[in-house]
């Protein structure tokens, strides 16, 4: 065996680390992303641990303490139109708002990826059927589709989750299909097929790992829109039902107070805005952190 390696340059064996570790490292160097991550994490943690934070009862109202202004002793952020503590309701409100605002994208990520990968890998007639149905859903602006389905199904947490998931499956499917078709044409897929592996094995070992990260990045860019839509459904009265604290719903019920205590009534919207802004910036950060190698 007289094979020499001397003629071929050996590339510097960089310190071996996983792909995601590299992404995390680059993300950690971006101050804006880190700030947004901190805000989102704080909101999520506050929402999860809301019952243990020693806040006032978010459901307990008081006829005499209605619409107290921001800074009232005992009610740091004032009280709402039924005299309930705003701070407690805003923090408790994060539970449903974030849940309904983020979970549909998670569901749609799994459903859309599965549909798109199958359509992109199998191709042919199955691809045509799936993608034509997706095209039809693209004929609806997302706000309209969400309101149409929620309006027909009626208010409720589960109905909101269903309608928002339906809204986000088609765009994720479209991206997943495009990415998968691209990967499908590469030689390593042919090489894998030439081993006699089943389509499922080839998808599992060779396709999924190479398509998931672009689909994931795209899905993160949808979380902000999903938040706004989820709160919007509640704002319209076809999302979460009263008396649950939820930012969109609170924004709606406090509208009657804009002549009495205007800035108080804008508070729930500030929460929605801050969350959606941080989600957007964080998604941009993740995108640029992941693009470095490609």
């Amino acid at each position: 065996m007289a094979l020499t390696e001397t003629l071929e340059p050996v590339q510097t064996p960089e310190a071996r680390k996983g792909y995601w570790a590299g992404v995390a490292q680059r993300l950690a160097r971006d101050p804006v992303s880190m700030l947004c991550l901190a805000v989102v994490a704080a909101l999520i943690l506050a929402a999860i641990f809301a019952p243990y934070l020693g806040l006032a009862d978010p459901y307990k109202g008081s006829m005499i303490a209605r619409l107290k202004p921001i800074g009232t002793p005992g009610h740091l952020l004032g009280t709402d139109e039924q005299g309930r503590d705003m701070l407690a309701r805003l923090i408790h409100g994060g539970r449903l708002t974030l849940f309904i605002g983020l979970m549909p994208v998670v569901f749609a990520f799994f459903i859309g990826s599965a549909l798109g990968v199958v359509a992109g890998y199998v191709g042919g007639r199955l691809n045509t059927i799936i993608m034509r149905v997706v095209d039809v859903f693209f004929a609806f602006p997302s706000v309209l589709l969400a309101i149409a389905i929620s309006g027909a199904l009626g208010a409720g947490i589960v109905n909101s989750l269903v309608s928002l998931t339906i809204v986000f499956v088609p765009p994720i499917t479209r991206v997943a299909e495009a990415v998968t078709s691209g990967v499908r044409s590469l030689d390593y897929i042919d090489a894998a097929r030439a081993t006699g592996a089943s389509a499922l094995t080839v998808i599992r070992v060779h396709v999924i790992g190479n398509v998931l990260s672009p689909i994931f990045v795209y899905a993160t860019s949808l979380t902000s829109v999903c938040m706004i839509l989820a709160a919007g459904l509640s704002f319209l009265g076809i999302g979460v039902r009263p008396p649950e604290p939820e930012w969109g719903l609170m924004l709606n019920t406090l509208r009657s107070a804009i002549y009495v205590n205007p800035w108080l009534s804008a508070l729930p919207g500030v929460m929605i805005f801050v969350t959606s802004l941080c989600l957007n910036l964080l998604s941009d950060g993740v995108r640029s952190a992941m693009n470095v190698r490609d």
Partner: protein, 346 residues
């Protein structure tokens, strides 16, 4: 690990006289869809009526311009593309008859031109090499992968855990060869496998391929547009033009005498190292005709210096023109064809 441990070779069935692979009347048209309803508007006649044999232990070189159907033929033979028509017979067993696609893939493996695109960027090279053996349920896939990596000149201790982007082009192509061998195939199709490499690296890989052929008793189909490389590694050469076979001959025979005018112009375009051996044939001019609508009769007649009226009407058959198994599809070599210059040239 010794060669026998690395290799679970399929048993020979028909004996040395039976060709390892016989391809008969292979045809593949790719539809071009268009218009409103995605109807088929035209067909690209990528491979049309291709027949050939690959003998046990030999290397068959396939040459031709890009777009002539070399790669499609290879992918058809490996079963990566479904054929429209024709027989693929592997050591006496016809695909779809006594041979399943899965069995065929166990017997034939392929190495592609683009060494980077043919490795999954998210798998370490040992995982890529072991994948096929694992799929086929061969014993100890990882040990086999390491043994083969060592055999193709990549020390497993240094390389097994690396990702494709951490290797050079030549190293990646060695990985691809190891990956093909991990299936213990009898036939390996090398589709422009060394074309993208630097000349010095190309020579190393060619030597490696020769060594492996001897060691594991392999048979190769070697596809290339580089005639010098084909001459170096092949026993016989098959020339394709626009989806058809125009000439087949042992390598020495075809270097001595190119029977088909297309082969002749292909060879004359090859740079020669010998100043006395100057090109006298005119080089080929123009692009090959559109394979959607290939010329009637002999497909080469539009560019052939010897074309007669007959050539545009009648398709020449591949026929024997020498004792050494030299075949050509040209009316010039058929005295009965009626071509005015039949039998007079070359």
């Amino acid at each position: 690990m010794s060669a026998t441990e690395l290799y679970d070779r399929l048993p020979d069935r028909g004996g040395p006289g039976q060709p390892l692979l016989t391809v008969r009347g292979l045809r593949k048209y790719f539809p071009i869809r268009g218009g409103i309803l995605g109807r088929t508007r035209a067909m690209v006649q990528a491979v049309d009526g291709v027949s050939f044999e690959v003998r046990k232990g030999e290397t068959l070189g396939i040459v031709g311009e890009s777009g002539c159907g070399k790669s499609t033929t290879a992918r058809l033979a490996v079963g990566l593309i479904e054929r429209d028509e024709g027989d693929i017979i592997f050591d006496g067993d016809a695909l779809g008859d006594t041979l399943s696609l899965r069995e065929l893939r166990r017997g034939i493996q392929m190495v592609f031109q683009d060494s980077y695109a043919s490795l999954n960027p998210r798998l370490t090279i040992e995982e890529s090499v072991a994948f096929g053996a694992r799929v086929q349920g061969l014993s100890d896939p990882m040990g086999r992968a390491h043994g083969l990596l060592a055999r193709v000149g990549l020390d497993p201790a240094r390389f097994a855990q690396r990702y494709p982007h951490e290797l050079s082009g030549g190293q990646r192509q060695r990985v691809n060869i190891a990956r093909a061998l991990a299936m213990s195939p009898r036939l390996v199709v090398l589709d422009e496998a060394v074309s993208a490499l630097d000349k010095s690296v190309e020579a190393q890989v060619l030597n490696l391929l020769s060594d492996l052929r001897a060691e594991f008793g392999l048979t190769y189909i070697f596809i290339s547009h580089d005639l010098n490389v084909v001459r170096y590694i092949s026993d016989r050469v098959l020339v394709m033009y626009l989806g058809e076979v125009v000439e087949v001959a042992p390598v020495d025979a075809i270097w001595a005498r190119q029977a088909h005018p297309y082969t002749r112009s292909l060879f004359s375009a090859m740079p020669s190292m010998d100043p006395d051996n100057r090109t006298e044939e005119p080089p080929l001019t123009g692009d090959p005709p559109n394979p959607i609508d290939p010329p009637e009769g002999c497909r080469f007649h539009t560019r052939c210096p010897f074309a007669a009226t007959l050539c545009g009407r009648k398709v020449p058959k591949l026929r024997k023109i020498g004792a050494d198994g030299h075949l050509a599809a040209c009316h010039l070599h058929d005295p009965a064809s009626g071509h005015p210059k039949a039998g007079k040239i070359a």
